[in-house]
């Protein structure tokens, strides 16, 4: 096992972790501010990917496709918030789960109705494709590096937004005491729509960016959604910092486990059995990580409340 391979896999893990962060940040923000569990977040990821694939197919421009993904997901998020989600803020969690489950059914089958069951393809633009040479002689796909860069900038942007801007102050105040900030004259229902649309736009962006290296198809959002849940359970619900660290941990565990566990088992098992046991255990690795964090800290690494 060479160093180059290890570094490549760490970069892969970082890249998938950072994309998970875009999903988890929106989820955790929506939960932190509105106290809502949103299963349909994966559908917004899918909406972003389909919008990007459709626009890229029509115009050939990847940048326009990204803009379309952001706009379509934010718009879908805002509409869903105003029509359905708004009625659920005071409802029990069971109702939130069911209503957002219903939204998944509507989104998934609706998309299948419009686009058909076959996957769409979104190509990496030529100026971002191909490998790049990193220091130490490592060849690494440029696009994946760009994903890491975009994700990191979004993370910094989110930090700036919540810590340094007026709307960020309102968001943080909304997490702590919604009656008080409503009394201070902030339009709370507008704030909720904005937060929901922001979370949706992040999910849509992730969907479009990842859609270019995987296929764009119905149901693509749910596996990512469930991993994002694992991320925010690990990081602590409501904490963007927790979502970031949790996402990187999950991304690295998932990627490195898939590569190294089979290798590890080869040390004391025959090859076939080692590959099978290793890959079966690797598929469980992130959930084991989650259980360990839970035993240690039931509210997650940075969670303040249960």
């Amino acid at each position: 096992m060479s160093t180059i391979l290890i570094i490549e896999q760490i970069l892969n893990g970082l890249q998938s972790g950072i994309m998970l962060f875009l999903m988890a940040a929106g989820l955790t923000l929506i939960f932190g501010v509105m106290g809502l569990i949103n299963l349909a977040h994966g559908s917004l990821y899918m909406v972003g990917a389909f919008a990007a694939a459709a626009v890229a197919g029509a115009t050939g421009s990847f940048l326009l496709a990204l803009v379309a993904a952001l706009a379509a997901a934010a718009l879908a998020g805002a509409i869903v918030e105003m029509v359905v989600i708004r009625r659920l803020y005071k409802a029990p969690h069971l109702d939130q789960v069911l209503a957002t489950f219903a939204l998944i059914l509507i989104f998934s089958e609706g998309t299948r109705w419009i686009f058909g069951s076959f996957p769409l393809f979104l190509d990496v633009p030529s100026y971002l494709s191909g490998p790049i040479r990193l220091p130490g002689g490592i060849q690494y796909p440029l696009y994946r590096l760009v994903l890491i860069g975009v994700g990191l900038s979004v993370a910094i942007g989110l930090w700036w937004l919540t810590a340094r801007t007026r709307i960020g102050i309102q968001i943080r105040a909304g997490e702590n005491d919604r009656e008080m900030i409503a009394a201070l004259g902030v339009d709370i229902s507008k704030l909720y729509t904005i937060v929901f649309a922001l979370g949706a736009a992040l999910a849509g962006l992730a969907g479009a960016l990842v859609g270019a290296i995987q296929s764009v198809q119905v149901g693509m959002g749910e596996p990512v959604l469930i991993l994002a849940f694992v991320v925010i359970v690990i990081g602590g619900i409501g904490s963007i910092k927790g979502a970031f660290i949790g996402a990187i941990l999950v991304g690295l565990t998932d990627t490195l486990g898939g590569i190294f566990l089979p290798q590890l088992f080869k040390l004391f098992m025959e090859t076939g059995a080692a590959t099978q046991t290793g890959s079966a255990l690797a598929s469980m690795a992130v959930y084991v990580l989650m259980s360990l964090v839970l035993i240690w800290r039931p509210t997650g690494l940075f969670g303040a409340r249960a």
Binding site: I37, V84, L103, V233
Partner: protein, 327 residues
């Protein structure tokens, strides 16, 4: 407005009349559909013990459904290939006998429910929902990557397993078996709710602090409910796999966990017959809307959304005119 107990008996009678009619009209497919509804109902009755009485919103009950299915699949697979099942120190033979398979399914899913419950009940609320969902997904991915038992392709069983004194290949006899299991589970639910344990569990849902003050441990109550619930859903999984003579990772899928909750909500949360009514409606809708359009899930989604937003008590709530034992 109709009394709930009347509705319960009417629904139960309906479940007997439809297959008997199908038998006389020689429509074996209808009997199979009814069996499917009975087994989905059985799985949801299991979930209803955790969800309805204990207030535990588990979005991972497909884990137990799938474990029951694989308990059947693995035992029958070893029996039909005449290979012994190696379990470290023990070696046991596969079996095609339903009672043994059911017992295995119940024990395995109860054990899994104990471990998952122990970990998940350290938390409450949204955390609990997400963690149970994640554990369900863990089983899903494990079953996909464990290629010894078919991996993604699943396991097929050539002949349905046997029950002493019955020919399970005859649809109506297998239906009778499943229906008896459903009645037994309903009886357990009914007895449980009236028992001191059920009353304490109900109290633990409403106010854990007060339950603790009178000297009971709310987490232990909920854990026991979760284990009983998982065991019943596991039994349903074993029977469901036998109905299809096929088990695959889709039995572990999170959509199934979601659908089990949907069944309970359509019927009415915390109602004895809620899951049964929900399952009957679900299978009927699936059959008729499914024949009418490929996209019947859109309509299911719309119906579900309307029930959650405007009809909190589900079908039983609408018929009895009461929102439900609890909201």
């Amino acid at each position: 407005m109709i009394r709930e107990s009347y509705i319960n008996w009417i629904v139960l009678a309906g479940f007997l009349v439809v297959p008997l009619w199908a038998l006389s009209a020689d429509e074996p497919f209808t009997i199979t559909l009814a069996t499917r509804a009975v087994l989905l109902a059985l799985a949801a009755v299991g979930l209803n013990i955790a969800l309805g009485i204990g207030g535990l919103v588990s979005l991972g009950h497909a884990a137990f459904f799938g474990l029951g299915g694989y308990a059947m699949g693995i035992l029958a697979h070893h029996a039909q290939t005449f290979t012994p099942l190696e379990l470290g120190m023990f070696t046991i033979a596969g079996t095609k006998s339903m009672p043994i398979i059911w017992l295995t399914a119940i024990i395995v899913s109860a054990l899994a429910a104990f471990v998952i419950g122990l970990l998940s009940l350290r938390t409450t609320g949204v955390y609990f929902i997400m963690i149970t969902l994640a554990f369900g997904q863990m089983f899903f991915f494990f079953s996909i990557s464990w290629s010894a038992y078919g991996g993604e392709d699943g396991l097929s069983i050539y002949v349905r397993n046997g029950f002493p004194g019955l020919n399970t290949l005859v649809p109506i006899q297998f239906f009778g078996l499943c229906f008896t299991a459903l009645c037994a589970a309903l009886f357990v639910h009914w007895k449980l709710r009236k028992s001191p344990f059920g009353l304490a569990l109900n109290a633990a849902r409403q106010s854990p602090a007060r339950v603790e003050t009178v000297g009971l441990n709310p987490v232990r109550l909920k854990l026991l409910a979760f284990v009983i619930s998982g065991a019943i859903t596991g039994l349903a999984g074993a029977l469901f796999a036998d109905l299809n003579r096929f088990v695959s990772p889709t039995m572990f899928s999170w959509q199934l966990s979601g659908e089990l909750i949907v069944l309970i909500i359509i019927g009415g949360v915390g109602r004895l017959m809620g899951p049964v009514i929900g399952a009957a409606l679900f299978v009927t809708l699936e059959h008729f809307l499914g024949a009418f359009t490929d996209f019947w899930h859109v309509w299911l989604g719309v119906i579900l959304l309307l029930i959650v937003l405007f009809a909190r008590g589900g079908v039983v709530g609408i018929l009895t005119g009461k929102a439900g034992p609890h909201v």
